[in-house]
């Protein structure tokens, strides 16, 4: 194995591939950082470029893009409070407040370092225990997926920053919006009003950039002209050494990082569910487990750590089923599968045997790309901060244009462009109504997963619900969900009436 890895590094350390990867990582970071452009889009747009390259160069480029784009999302999430990709949504929750408190550099530093650690952790897992772990994914069928979706949905209650009713409403509304389009399993059009463009429903990306980026511009329009200029510029690079946080803080975050890494890895391995979900789930769990949980959402680096470790750990996670089973773990790896096939390589259980050298080249590329990412983002840190010198009234309109490009790029339809305005208005209404956006997004992501797998599960068990509970994994998750809901209700009812409102708020 060591020998193969050596060969792999040998292949990657050619001038040609190294340059390609450096470009890939840099471009990935940009795609990740610009709201509206995502990792999926970076890989999809560059896939055709790899056709003419050899498999080693081509796949190294795709891997570099994947890693760059996944970690790039944290930059805009922290600096602008707009997540660059769906995998960095939870980074905004604490990254944003930290930025406002003038701790932007620290938040960025933490995000970058834990992105790096999360990625490395998952690559190590990919290299050593991929076949065993991937087999676990096989035992997950519709019943299990349904249970996981339901469990994750119940976590919404925790994300409700204001009133619980509003949080739950936002989540349910997210699910409701996701039901637009052709229904899962049977060919029934729902809520399309005969508009064929609604057949496919709304895209996750348009929902996200609408709710965050467009809403942010409208907010700027509301108060920006009178805002005290320079408030955002309070970020100073003076007295900032290294990544801007202390060794003590680093040590304190290790348990959180370990847990988040496992969550990110676990969710990443399961096909069809990835970093977009895992960053939120691990954020919620980190908040629950932390001693200072009440400071989450107000600028606790733990929130950034949880989100960024988890989403990057998803990289190795998503690669596992791809490389050992030939099953893509998420949208990015689905496109990457095409990158393999185009070179006549069919990933599957025999890939490690039939394409040993290539497999280890990919491992080496993953490691090298991760190091490049750390390096570029560390030195880029000062550059990113400079971004804030651009006045907001110049920066945000340009970001809106990029969002329009991103939405249009999804499938070259103006419909997607209109959707971002629609969700921008909705996001603005949410802000006005004191309704949190995060539950809406979770509902939107997980709602279809729950419904589709409910229907599939019922088909498998001939319409019987029993299997959802008798199945060990599904039963456990549904049980956990039930306990969680009961506990929430119980703790809301137990205290004196005067404290009820206090509970409802948190």
């Amino acid at each position: 194995m060591l020998e193969l890895l050596q060969q792999g590094f040998g292949a990657v350390f050619s001038l040609n591939i190294m340059m390609l990867m450096a470009v890939g990582v840099a471009m990935g970071i940009v795609f990740g950082a610009v709201p509206g452009l995502s990792a999926t889009m970076a890989v999809a747009l560059c896939l055709p470029l790899t056709f003419t390259m050899g498999p080693q160069a081509g796949l190294s480029l795709l891997v570099a893009l994947f890693i760059g784009a996944t970690s790039g999302g944290l930059i805009s999430a922290i600096l602008l409070k707009i997540p660059g990709t769906p995998s960095s949504i939870a980074t905004v929750f604490d990254g944003g407040p930290l930025m406002e408190q003038g701790q932007g550099v620290k938040a960025l530093g933490v995000g970058i370092v834990f992105s790096f650690l999360g990625t490395i952790f998952s690559i190590v897992a990919l290299m050593f225990i991929a076949p065993q772990l991937a087999k676990v994914a096989l035992s997950f069928g519709p019943h299990e997926y349904f249970a996981i979706a339901v469990f994750s949905l119940t976590l919404i209650a925790t994300l409700s920053a204001g009133s619980m009713v509003k949080g739950l409403f936002a989540g349910a509304l997210g699910i409701a919006v996701s039901t637009v389009g052709i229904a899962p399993v049977e060919a029934v059009r729902r809520f399309t009003f005969g508009v064929s463009e609604l057949n496919g429903g709304f895209s996750m990306l348009t929902v996200m950039i609408g709710m965050f980026a467009v809403a942010e511009i409208i907010k700027l329009a509301e108060t920006g002209r009178h805002a005290v200029q320079g408030k955002a510029k309070s970020v100073s690079m003076k007295n900032i050494k290294g990544f801007g946080f202390s060794l003590k803080e680093f040590r304190e975050q290790l348990p959180n990082a370990g847990r988040s890494g496992l969550i990110g890895l676990g969710i990443g391995i399961l096909p069809g569910i990835g970093a977009g979900t895992s960053n939120l789930v691990s954020y919620i769990i980190a908040k629950k487990r932390a001693k200072d949980g009440h400071t989450y959402g107000k600028g606790n680096i733990g929130g950034v750590v949880a989100s960024e470790t988890a989403n990057n750990a998803g990289i190795g996670g998503a690669m596992m089923p791809l490389m050992t089973l030939g099953i893509p773990g998420d949208t990015v790896t689905a496109i990457m599968l095409g990158g393999f096939l185009i070179h006549g390589i069919q990933p599957g259980p025999l890939l490690f045997i039939s394409q040993g050298p290539l497999v280890y080249t990919i491992f080496a590329a993953l490691i090298v790309a991760t190091c490049m990412m750390l390096f570029m983002e560390f030195y880029g840190l000062r550059l990113f901060i400079k971004l804030l010198d651009v006045p907001k009234h110049i920066l945000l309109p340009i970001i809106l244009v990029l969002c329009v490009v991103g939405a249009f790029g999804l499938s070259s339809r103006l419909f997607d462009v209109w959707s971002i305005l629609l969700f921008g208005l909705l996001g603005y209404a949410f802000v006005k109504a004191g309704m949190p956006a995060a539950p809406f997004i979770i509902g939107f992501i997980l709602g279809p997963m729950a419904e589709t797998n409910l229907r599939r599960g019922l088909m498998l068990s001939d319409g019987s619900f029993a299997e959802f509970f008798t199945n060990p994994i599904a039963g456990t998750f549904l049980g956990l969900a039930l306990v969680f809901v009961l506990w929430q209700v119980f703790s809301a009812l137990r205290p004196k009436p005067s404290a009820i409102n206090e509970i409802l708020r948190t």
Binding site: L47, S139, I182, A187, G344, S411, S412, L460
Partner: protein
Amino acid sequence: MKKTFRASLLSALVGMGVLATHSATFADEVKWPTRPVQVVVIANPGGDTDFNARMMAKYFNEITGKTMVVTNVAGGGGTLAAEQVKGAAPDGNTILFTHPGQLIVNEVAGLTEDSYETFDVSCIAGVDKSTVFVASKQSGVTSMKDLVDKSKANPGSITYGTEMGSFSHLQGLMLEKLTGAKLKMVDGGTVSDRVVGMLGGRLDMGAITYGSVQDYVQGGQMVALGQPNAERNAMLGEVPTLKEQGLDITMDKPYVVAFPKGTDPAIVKKMSDIMQQITEQPAYAEDLKKFKQPVAFFATEDAKQILAKTREDFMQFKDELRKAK
């Protein structure tokens, strides 16, 4: 009496296609393409449909010197892509790259009112012959005959994983109809989801691209029951055809190139001619091998004939497809 069933005329027309002339001169010298041509593909990047479109684009660029830009518009079972092309200006600059899964099945399943005649079909750019019927080891099914016997003896005991209202659903229905077997049709999601389902023992069988399962067939976790091609596709190894096993079933998935209605017939013809030129290139054939696909081409009239026949065949299953299960 032996039941006979043909999903398409393809097998009958293969001979004609091969005999088709090399004299593909551009009869009407129409001024096209003048700008980058956009090909709207009904699938995501990375799959077989996308691959075929990209190969077409690659050689189109070489032959005409104009770029062909591939745009992936997945979602809505292909209806999104179809709508986009349908609504585009019929100036030859927007092309739909599709297959009967969208072009015909959607109409049959009641997902759209539009038939293939909503478009000006130009040609069939290729035919996928890499789909095989596979069964998981756990199912205990070892051959097509075994499958028929088992499912007849115990109707509904074999779980057929598919996507409801999709091409593979139809393949299953055809299999049922021809053999008289009764399968338990279950929505198993995408190809990848179904492979996972079969490996996990939740699904017994399905119609899946050979590439996705070849390692499992070699490793013994799955059994390739048969390929629904008229003759063995040499790139699928030792998988027998259904015909060899006494089942007269052939099903192919042709990739169709279509323009919005009202496009200048000369452009439609020229595209067909260019595609034919592409299929004659040895390098193109070499590229297609990666997806275990032999070269195939049908010009405008043949393509329309094939689609008409396919539509007629599929319409028999209208009720099954529309019946929400």
